[in-house]
Amino acid sequence: MEKLEKIVEECKEVVCDMNFQEAKQWKSEGKQRILVGYLPIYFPREMVWAANGLAVGIMGAGDYKQVIKGDAYYQSYICHLPRGIIDLALDGHFDGFDGFVFPSICDVIRNLSGIFQVEKIGHFSKYLDYPQNFKKEIGGEFYRKELDSILNKIFNINQVKTTKETLNNAIKLYNTNRRYLRLIYDIREKYPWRLSAYELYVIIRAGMVMPVDKHNQMLEIVVNEINKERGTPMDNIRVIIWGAFCEQMPLNLIKSIEMAGCYVIDDDFLIGSRWTTADIDESSEDPIGALVDAYLNHSTFSSSIYDVDNPKEKRLVQLAKQRKADGIIFASPSFCDPALLDTPICQKYCDKEGIKFISFQYSENVGQFKVIKEQVGAFSDSIKLWEETST
């Protein structure tokens, strides 16, 4: 098997492993190591690494596990993600995890942090309240206290104090990780056939549950491999998928979209891994301050942020133009207020800017993709037809 295929295969196994063996194995190999689970979208994993821990992305049980107990926790009109996570927790899949972080992206995730508290899952459940104020001395200070509080919780478990060196070292490793990811997206912008969206997806997602140094080695190989010719260019349209930042699409749905005639040249599936759009200062005297600065000044755009001065629809359209996208697919999890309330805003602006789009809703455990595939296929055909007639 080729190097890249092997990596994709390995990553797929890691992604589908709802027992998080990769992370647990890492923990067992060192003293005072801990695991901190975090939910979508973004969490500064660097801090945990510096404290001798691994931040493990919990992106839902998807269609990998049949949800039974979780359904008793949630009404039918709440998205699927939390029920899968509760199921994993109650069935012991998180045994060995020390704590959990719930970033403030919606009320479902917020209240899930409360259920973890009530059910006493892990040593701590921290709702990480992201500031919506982007001034250093206001939102920045608040955010810093939030991060300090997480470090204290970790310290209470493993007695490891972070230092300037450990933090800077961790930032360096994650900077490398993000740099590779940016590079891969840039290469795919020109040669999307060299790495499919499905392959890229499993590679990134595996990086959320494995040690960053190991993932960096993988990414280096991926970059080398896709710098060479691979695959065959097809008559596909170029699309961006947006809205899928939290509850994830089933792997087969991503494949179906590609098979329906699309190159997915950008997306927000696992946007937390690429949240910071520029390198973070890795030799700072105040590394936590550097993480805060990165959040305030170098965050990507997302449903979880209301940046009054930097509207997301403009940034999305700008991204579409930069990536030379033919269109945007707004894909949102069912019952997801944050994604679904951004959609009309972005669509209106797309209309104004002449960007074509379609939208659909999905759920992480949906098994039938026929209708979506047809819709995407028709979208692809219509764009091709439009291109033909306009040339």
């Binding site: 008793a72 508290q117 206001i138």
Partner: protein
């Protein structure tokens, strides 16, 4: 049940107050007054009044539209322009109203906002809602105040400081700019002292259902009682007058041993005392209420009537520290409490109000309330052995109110309560 329905003086007064408020709103532009859109939970009405501006609460427009059977059409119109069927119907009702000319529930045009004041206490969807409104009213300034969640079950000095900084740095300067007036702290202090008085009074009012029989229904009538304090009157002498009058009337009922007043007259026999979690349905509010009073069920305490503040836990505005106290107020609303706190609060209500049962009315629209309610219900059942019931509908989307479904479930619930009573006798 006596069929005679006489309007209490407080009801008449409340009606007059609302009419006056509405007139002021619809003539705001002629009077040169600025209009601030904001939300009910954690609202900064006192500060808005300190700048002589007029608050508008979009979720109140939505619920009023629901009660007047207008919401269904608005929601469908919003769906036609791309708003998903899955999202909060308050937002869609508001957007639908706007695209239909912003004609409010009483048939008159609601003025456009001069400022969007976003203190999104206890609900993330509020933020998304205003992101949409900002686009629908291009150029409107937005003042944002991030209210930290009580994730560790407390309000810390740092949380207060963070909010005060936002007030000073962003909210107040924007209000000065929009209103053309300077921030007047003395004026704010005076307003806050009235607010404090109303809080004291409403707290006494919601304590009265501890009497048996309860003199009021703390949910269905309770939503009328919280109207003035939550929607723009808190901090006014009129509100103090209204709540004094209301409390007097309720005290009189206690002395006479009378039960709650319903739309069909006085309830003569109190069979079941309930604590309810979750907002009511507005599109079929009367029918919904009737399902309870016909069965002799009185709601003695509810979490919904605490969305505008938990005065029973001791919060009062403090004029001597105006901005700190506004900050604390924002953080003190029910949905800004974490789940373990919410369970403790409900436990307290069940025990102190001697409830026979606990009922969840789960709202399709509202993740803030609904996500986690089943876990809360189970915990209360396990810890207290209290009979629990579960019904569901929506706030303002009539498509999600199924009368027969709710009736069936309530009948089973009341049967369970009856059996429990027989066993314990």
């Amino acid at each position: 049940m006596t069929k005679e329905v006489k309007k209490d003086k407080s009801m008449v007064l409340q009606k007059e107050m609302i009419a006056k408020q509405f007139h002021e709103l619809t003539t705001a532009k002629e009077q040169g007054k600025k209009v601030v859109y904001t939300f009910v939970p954690g609202n900064l009405s006192e500060l808005i009044h300190a700048f002589d501006m007029i608050p508008v609460y979009p979720e109140i427009n939505a619920l009023q539209s629901g009660m007047r059977k207008k919401s269904g059409g608005f929601i469908k119109d919003a769906e036609k322009i791309g708003y998903s069927e899955d999202i909060c119907t308050y937002v869609k009702c508001d957007v639908g109203m706007l695209i239909n000319g912003n004609i409010g529930p009483f048939g008159e045009k609601i003025p456009s906002p001069d400022l969007l004041l976003l203190s999104y206490t206890g609900c993330f969807t509020f933020m998304k809602w205003f992101e949409n409104l900002e686009r629908l009213y291009p150029g409107v300034p937005v003042a944002m105040i991030h209210t930290p969640y009580q994730e560790e079950g407390q309000i810390t000095a740092e949380m207060v400081e963070y909010m005060v900084k936002q007030l000073k740095d962003d909210v107040i300067p924007k209000m000065e700019q929009v209103s053309g007036k300077k921030y007047d702290e003395e004026k704010l202090k005076t307003i806050l002292s009235y607010a404090r008085e109303t809080q004291e009074l409403i707290n006494q009012i919601f304590e009265t259902p501890k009497n048996i029989p309860s003199p009021i229904d703390a949910y269905f009538a309770g939503v009328y009682y919280i109207g003035p304090i939550n929607t723009g009157f808190r901090g006014t002498p009129e509100a103090v007058e209204y709540y004094k009058l209301l409390l007097e009337e309720i005290k009189e009922r206690i002395q006479l041993g009378l039960g709650p007043v319903t739309p069909e007259g006085e309830m003569t026999e109190e069979k079941f005392r309930l604590v309810v979690e979750g907002p009511p349905n507005w599109t079929s509010f009367r029918e919904f209420w009737k399902l309870f009073y016909e069965m002799g069920a009185v709601i003695v305490a509810s979490s919904y009537t605490k969305v505008g503040g938990l005065y029973d836990l001791g919060f009062r505005h403090r004029p001597e520290q105006p901005l700190e106290s506004l900050a604390e107020y924002c953080m003190n609303c029910y949905t800004n409490f974490n789940l373990p706190q919410r369970i403790t609060i409900l436990k307290k209500y069940i025990q102190e109000y001697k409830a026979d049962g606990f009922l969840v009315h789960s709202i399709k629209s509202c993740n803030s309330f609904s996500a986690g309610q089943l876990a809360m219900m189970r915990k209360l059942e396990n810890d207290l052995g209290v009979p629990v019931g579960f019904i569901e509908s929506d706030l303002v989307d009539p498509r999600y109110f199924s009368y027969s479904n709710i009736k069936n479930r309530l009948e089973s619930f009341f049967q369970m309560l009856t059996q429990r009573k027989l066993v314990s006798q």
